[in-house]
Symmetry: C2
Subunit: 336 residues, 2 copies
DNA sequence: TTGTAGGCGTTATCAT
DNA sequence: ATGATAACGCCTACAA
């Protein structure tokens, strides 16, 4: 079942069939309907490999998602799908492990799918530095600032992570907390983690509160387990704190468990604040206070910027999307 | 950068280059090393489309995952990756939306990737009935019983969902509970949901406990939100219960929240039991009692059965993997 | 062991 | 508007 068969069946030449199938111009209405109908009847399906082998362009927009279990990205993909569905572009989503090289993969996919543009959900700047040069279509990294990379076809849309970290700590301080511990990602690996961390440091400094990263900060992976472990380590070290900021909700969940096992109640004994704004935070007991990234806004701006690049050859931009703090049950005001 | 260039560069013919690249026999060691090295230097990457276009077989094993956000499948994919990594097969994982037709997608991927076998993570029997006929390679559905479908190349590996549902209720009854509500998936759509439900009914019947599905059962989607809503509905209906079985952990999480908002404590006022054994259950407060599916065992048997089919042409099988109940903090014994 | 040539199913280019 | 035909990059007989 190839387009040759379709051609034979309809009496047209393969060229005409191909054009009809791809909505190209210069096909009579008569031919188009005849061919489309025949394709339907014989339930013809095009051979993607042959198509992509010959094709120089496609109308595909690619989304490269780093970290399969990442709930935040899950939501974002949904938003993006929704937005792209309203255009004439086709969306291809590619999921990969947390620790894979997303840029190398994208290079590969470019050869394969010939996309018009790429949306990266998550990423590591080093990977871009190393492998991005060979990509020459408009791209947008989401949740990662790429302004320092200065590739002219690489935009970025991020939450202002430094400011978010700062505001989180500010809020805890405003509530009367002075002894605040922080757990977050490894700031040597992840820029996002580093920025959030720097924001925290800034807030502490502004209030003259001493903060020693080696004692008060645990840098680990973004997972329940690592949040749990990091908090355990903090507790075991004998550090005292009335509040804990976990720079990812998944860590906060692990942290709450660790606190509980040490006999601390949340928020009575320790206030816990997360970050990201995952849906589950709303369902936990206690509900999680969190610095929420605006998933839908980020998705929307990313798509807009990408489209502007694809359709108008617009210059790259680096934008910041406002976050929002949801104060819920897991933090309390400290009474004097 | 094609194999032609490689051929030119090394002085060999494209045929030899192709064979060297694919570890085919009849290539001198000298030629092989020369070619491989040249490929390395020019960082040659093969054109997947051209390769797959011409290829009749590949050494690919395909995993079709239904439901991106499904933590259970996330774990399972990891296990599978680990198992396949020890073989000479290549793994391709394809993720899709909860409500997509996984079999139609698989048919498409067969044409594209020419895999040796397929592992379905999740699935709907109706889709198989409708579209599976055209697939003729060994396949295994995981978490879904396919024995009633009687395709001779379709195996299945499942938890005994009916028995799991029964045991869950039995345990609650053994702990002294008589008024037990159940929330689960829509049993008209999902076989898994139906089986779990039937198990519950069986347990109730065995103990002469009245159970009216229309009053005591809420059938909704597998999500926090739907677990929450279903529980709210149950509470609003005025039904009294001392225990609640949610036939998915995500639902249980939503349920606990709903209970809490109605002033009920878990487990003091209502015991809650989930099912699946998601990692997060361990970190919740209270820790979630759950009927855990043995992810690693399921992954292992699935891969073994698939391999047996691929390598030895073994007949299909339909196996059941033991589940295990983790009794944790969210249930309590009812004192008389 | 190595080289040669034909063809996989499609798109794209050029005629017509 | 349609048809014929040359690529696309690779694999695979088959010949050498």
């Amino acid at each position: 079942m190839t387009i040759k068969d379709l051609a034979a069946k309809t009496g047209y030449a393969v060229g005409t069939v191909s054009r009809a199938l791809n909505n190209h111009p210069n096909v009579s209405e008569k031919a188009r309907t005849a061919i489309l109908q025949a394709a339907q009847e014989m339930d013809f399906e095009i051979n993607v490999n042959a198509k992509q082998l010959k094709q120089t362009h496609s109308n595909t927009v690619l989304v490269v998602v780093k970290g399969i279990g990442n709930e935040l990205f899950g939501e974002m993909v949904e938003s993006i799908q929704h937005l792209i569905a309203q255009t004439h572009y086709q969306l291809v989503v590619d999921y990969m492990d947390e620790d894979a090289n997303e840029v190398a993969r994208a290079v590969q996919l470019c050869r394969e799918k010939k996309p018009l543009g790429i949306l990266f959900l998550g990423g590591i700047n080093d990977h871009f530095r190393r492998d991005f040069a060979s990509i020459d279509i408009p791209c947008v990294v989401v949740t990662n600032d790429a302004s320092t990379l200065s590739f002219e076809n690489l935009s970025s849309v991020t939450t202002d992570d430094r400011e978010a970290g700062r505001c989180a700590i500010e809020m805890l301080i405003a509530l009367g907390h002075q002894k605040i511990a922080v757990i977050g990602g490894d700031r040597d690996v992840s820029d996002t983690s580093r920025l959030r961390f720097e924001g925290c440091v800034k807030a502490f400094a502004a209030h003259g509160i001493p903060f020693d990263p080696r004692r008060d900060y645990q840098g680990v992976r973004f997972s329940y387990q690592d949040g749990y472990r990091a908090t355990k380590a903090l507790l075991d070290s004998g550090r005292e704190f009335t509040a804990l900021f976990a720079s990812a909700d998944v860590m906060a969940i692990g942290a709450i468990r660790a606190l509980r096992e040490s006999g601390k109640r949340v928020p009575e004994d320790v206030s816990v604040m997360g970050m990201d704004g995952l849906p589950i935070g709303d369902y936990l007991v206690p509900q999680l206070t969190t610095v929420a990234q605006s998933v839908s806004s980020m998705a929307q701006r990313s798509v807009e910027i990408l489209m502007d690049g694809i359709e108008n050859g617009a210059q790259c931009r680096h934008e910041t999307i406002p976050f929002r703090i949801y104060r819920r049950e897991s933090v309390r005001e400290l009474q004097e």
